[in-house]
């Protein structure tokens, strides 16, 4: 994902963890400031636009809920791309990227679920319905958590990465199947009714803050991801140095 957003020259730089750490160090302050700026603009827009005549103030929840949901799906896409990078091109940073995207993606998925249920309570009168979209999202959340648990359970980072990559890709392939089956399950039990909400056209009045917020959240995602990747590289370096310390003491 990120590779494309940077200059071609830096692709080789990216493959080298040391250069990546340096690059991340230079890039992070800019990304962080951009994120803060976008959030400032976005939040101002969120609260200055008019309330919807039908949904009232609750429409403002959408400005968080929808970007969070997009980011949750993008996070998994980033992980899937990284998993492909691990398995196919054996890119040394791909498994770092995959591992670090999981907690961030899980965070955004949780946010989407929470805001969704906070939106649903005044709109539908209940915190949670087993609607197809919500249910699929809940399954996505479980998949994220499972991956985090898998990453934590393995002490050998390299081996964990390959196994996790397989699981990520199987999950990715499985997403349409899950979506389809959940849709089928849902319509089997209850006709699509009240649960369809704001599906089609969004008033341009609401589109502007939504887009800015989506951009802000995307920047936030990449800032966090980059920082987490840098930390992960440090973590691996520490592990390598500790092993070396143990070996060094043995030869001494």
């Amino acid at each position: 994902m990120r590779e494309r957003s940077l200059a071609i020259r830096s692709f080789t730089d990216l493959a080298n963890p040391t250069r990546f750490v340096a690059l991340a160090g230079r890039l992070l302050p800019w990304l962080a400031s951009l994120t803060v700026l976008l959030f400032a603009i976005g939040l101002t827009l969120c609260f200055t636009t008019a309330a919807d005549y039908q949904q009232g103030e609750t429409v403002r929840i959408m400005y968080i809920h929808v970007p969070a949901a997009w980011l949750a799906m993008m996070g998994y896409t980033v992980m899937a791309a990284s998993a492909l990078g691990t398995l196919v091109w054996r890119h040394p940073l791909a498994d770092v990227a995959a591992k670090c995207a999981a907690p961030i993606g899980a965070g955004f998925t949780a946010l989407a679920l929470v805001t969704g249920s906070l939106w649903g309570k005044p709109m539908w009168g209940t915190w949670w319905v087993w609607d197809a979209r919500l249910t699929s999202f809940f399954i996505l959340f479980l998949m994220y958590l499972g991956l985090i648990a898998l990453n934590r359970a393995m002490d050998d980072a390299g081996r964990a990465a390959k196994v996790a990559a397989v699981l990520i890709l199987v999950g990715f392939v499985n997403i349409p199947i899950i979506k389809f089956s959940v849709d089928w399950w849902n319509t089997l039990h209850q006709p699509a009714s009240v649960l369809r909400l704001g599906g089609s056209a969004i008033d341009p009045e609401f589109r502007r803050p939504l887009l800015v917020m989506a951009l802000a959240f995307t920047c936030l995602f990449f800032t966090l991801h980059l920082a987490a990747m840098r930390t992960e590289i440090w973590r691996r370096r520490i592990a390598a140095m500790r092993r070396q310390a143990a070996r060094g003491a043995a030869s001494a």
Binding site: T115, A227, M241
Partner: protein, 55 residues
């Protein structure tokens, strides 16, 4: 409407909580790792690729 405002406030609160949680996790983790790295380097342990002199 005020009841609905509470839901809006709760959503933004939740967003703040999640974002703050993620940011503090990333920052604290980075700080802890950096400190460990410094401690190891002060103890005179060098990485093979960086040191070159190590056996």
């Amino acid at each position: 409407m005020s009841a609905h405002l509470a839901y809006v406030a709760a959503s933004y609160g939740a967003a703040l909580l999640v974002v703050a949680g993620l940011v503090s996790w990333v920052v604290l983790d980075a700080r802890a790792r950096r400190r460990e790295l410094q401690a190891l380097e002060e103890a005179g342990i060098r990485r093979r690729s960086a040191g070159g002199g190590a056996p």
